[in-house]
Subunit: 467 residues, 2 copies
């Protein structure tokens, strides 16, 4: 028997009283978009009982109190661009969609902060910052549509993490509605804080299981005036990745170092119908350097060019940023176009173990009957997006092979000191995997934390950790 109650007509009435009838709906057609995220496997689809669109923190708090009192699951949702089914209501209940809370509340140029509601897209934040001569350094690949609230929930990474860190480093405070419906502010505009446990950092990356973020204080940094992109093509991945520590140890901190394996390049080429350099046998390293002084950037690019040449590159090209980034960012789309159902793994290993991890993945691909596994990702921080493609496999074969293959991949990753997820999160998709691979003491501590924030276990239940 479920620990939760069902959403009744009386509950829907109460929800309507809180947000207005217009912003509560429970018909299948309107709820459909809220029944999944970017994961296309039907296994990860589940219809809400009701969708509610609050306008402010006070309404969020009232809805959460109602859910807590009535033992209803409540699932906070941003733009639905997640890749771990973290915003899908697998235990039914209320989907709390934050799309109406989409205002930029404050732009504080003196202290260099923006204060925003959770439903502002990452791209809007970036744009607003740029227009005033600042940079918001969070930059997940889904940034055009992802919400800041979701970025905070998953501690989103992305392309600039090597230089600026993940979302955690961009967030200086949040307003949080706790699972018991209290509104609190953690952090804020102080640039330093040693005032007790960092609840802020605990909430960042907790995937909506410890409360609902209703406001975020985002750090701004100086906007670099110039950028240059290089595409270095290598004959194999080992040689390609070996260049990363050589660049950083030389005192250059690129904004970005990305990689694509040859299979990924070929698939993107087909998808874009556009010739990509050395696609027959090349492995890409894409480097972006940014700064104010153009001479310095040219010097850095010259140095990287020479370094790559000395270390086995087939060719180093000054890249057209639009073209090369379109290729890199189309990686997931290209795989989806080839195989609607695929599993995007988000493994992370120490940077110098990327080649070994990818070699072992190639071996596993063979072992499982040449199942297609493409690899691309963030070379600068060891984050590999390995896409395992269903292609024309039967449902049955897929659901039999996938977990076994993932098991072998994750055992290998943990043996290298790696982790399940670099930036997509555990969500619902990886709950069982976390139970299997994390240290039991760590799991115990996480469960205790979950219970202490959310005694009735109503907040995004079944995500991150089962209690």
């Amino acid at each position: 028997m479920s620990r939760y109650n069902a959403v009744t007509d009386a509950i829907i009435k109460e929800l309507q009283n809180i947000v207005g009838a217009k912003f509560v709906f429970s018909d299948a057609e309107r709820m459909e978009p809220y029944s999944h995220d970017e994961v296309t496997d039907p296994k990860y689809v589940k219809m809400p009982e009701v969708v509610v669109l609050p306008e402010n923190a006070k309404q969020v708090a009232e809805i959460v109190k109602l859910a807590n009192r009535e033992l209803l699951p409540i699932v906070p949702r941003g733009a639905g661009t997640g890749l771990a089914s973290g915003a899908v209501p697998f235990k039914g209940g209320i989907v709390l969609a934050l799309e109406r809370m989409n205002k930029i509340l404050e732009f504080d140029t003196e202290n260099m902060f923006m204060v925003v509601e959770p439903g502002v897209t990452t791209a809007e934040v970036q744009k607003a910052a740029n227009e005033r001569g600042f940079l918001y350094a969070g930059d997940p690949c889904s940034g055009d549509s992802s919400f800041i609230g979701g970025n905070v929930a998953t501690n989103a990474g992305g392309n600039k993490a090597i230089r600026y860190g993940t979302t955690r480093q961009q967030v200086n405070g949040v307003e949080l509605v706790t699972p018991e419906g209290e509104i609190i502010t953690l952090g804020g505009k102080c640039k330093k804080d040693a005032t007790g446990y960092s609840l802020l950092n605990l909430v960042i990356g907790s995937e909506g299981t410890l409360g609902v973020v209703t406001k975020a204080y985002l750090k701004l940094v100086a906007l670099p005036k110039n950028a240059m992109d290089l595409l270095a093509v290598f004959p194999d991945l080992k040689t390609a990745i070996a260049i990363v520590p050589k660049i950083t140890a030389a005192g250059i901190t690129p904004t970005t170092i990305e990689f694509m394996d040859n299979e990924a390049i070929k698939t993107v080429e087909v998808f874009l119908n556009e010739k990509l350099p050395h696609s027959d046998k090349g492995y890409y390293i894409i480097v972006t350097v940014e700064g104010d002084n153009e001479d310095t950037l040219e010097e850095q690019c010259g140095f990287i060019d020479e370094l790559c040449g000395q270390n086995g590159a087939l060719e180093v090209l000054v890249a057209d940023p639009v073209k090369i980034w379109k290729a890199r960012k189309s990686y997931a789309e290209a795989d989806r176009a080839r195989s609607l159902i695929f599993s995007m793994e988000d493994i992370v290993v120490p940077v110098n173990d990327i080649p070994r991890a990818i070699e072992e993945i190639a071996e596993l691909s063979k072992k499982y009957g040449n199942i297609a596994i493409h690899c691309a990702g963030h070379a600068g921080d060891g984050n590999i997006h390995a896409n395992i493609l269903k292609d024309d496999m039967s449902e049955e074969e897929w659901h039999e092979k996938l977990p076994a293959l993932q098991g072998e991949i994750y055992r290998m990753v943990y043996a290298l000191g790696g982790k399940l997820s670099g930036e997509h999160g555990i969500g619902y998709k990886r709950v069982k995997l976390l139970e299997e691979y994390a240290n039991p003491v760590e799991l115990k501590l996480m469960r205790n934390i979950k219970k202490s924030f959310d005694p009735n276990l109503i907040m995004n239940p079944g995500k991150v950790i089962e209690v």
Copy 2:
């Protein structure tokens, strides 16, 4: 009645069996240095029942298990350079001194990490990194003697936080002995991690109340090849601080922006017996810029010089770094020399509120009979070290006036959106203040977290939060 038991001869015997008789002592003379930190007020001194010096994590775990079984308070201790009495055994019990765990375990240049034991000093870490061409960016003012373990425990800040962040941003993983004696690793060498709640970030800054850090994975960054220091002298603090956002918003990220008020400068001048520029009426802003390209640095300094000139500076000097940093770093020592007993506040406010906070502190100084309050600190991140001096006040007057004055200061700080502590931590000294000023919901969550890590409340009890 205390919830804790006393340390008996049988316990001492057991401790000797774990670490060897040589490394357990309970005579007053040898224990004296472990009875206080840098806080000189006798109110913050308390003798341990026994001091134990373990050699490795296994021994730490055995000692913690013993303490947990026998209900003995256990207080982890680094170098004792704390300023919040966080390592003093106010509830008696065992002081766990980590000074023998002082090895640099690994230097991983490829992944850019150092792995160290907690008893390595910050200065040794910095030196080892520099010798290999890297920078360890953690840099608390006490760095010459403070231990890395203590830096992690307090999330130490320091002079480079404006560019590189506090200790939190330098630590990618820890090995932790939990309050129940389990040894776990949180984080490690992966540069990204979205694998469940960030227990690592919860432990950083928890001041030894959630476990004992027995190993730290420290990030290395590129070592800037050049540095330049500027001393800008202003006629008042408001004008001085107003320069900070102008510098950063112009796209310059100095490594350091410090300030000293006129009283602080005068006291340091007396202490060092050395003439300081414009000490009659000047307020200092000290800026350090670092980078590889000397031309760029000169350009930046030229720009800052001009900016300061246009915005009210009396004079801008290219500073002798040795001299100016000696002055800045002597701030606490100079006040201690003048008044052995003084209270160093560690308030933090949004950067643009520093002048207002300091004006109000000056008003309060008058209101309390011209009690001497000096201010200096980290202008770049809003962190003000306000030293309240006892001078020749009677004990009685001091203990009557101080809490009342602090009360007024903290109410003002919180009204500005500030916090109790920017980098020194809550320790024992600020437990009551935290209870008074933090949000009750936050306090409840912190208490729950403490209980869930440490059900018997043996780990550094009475620090951060009373349960």
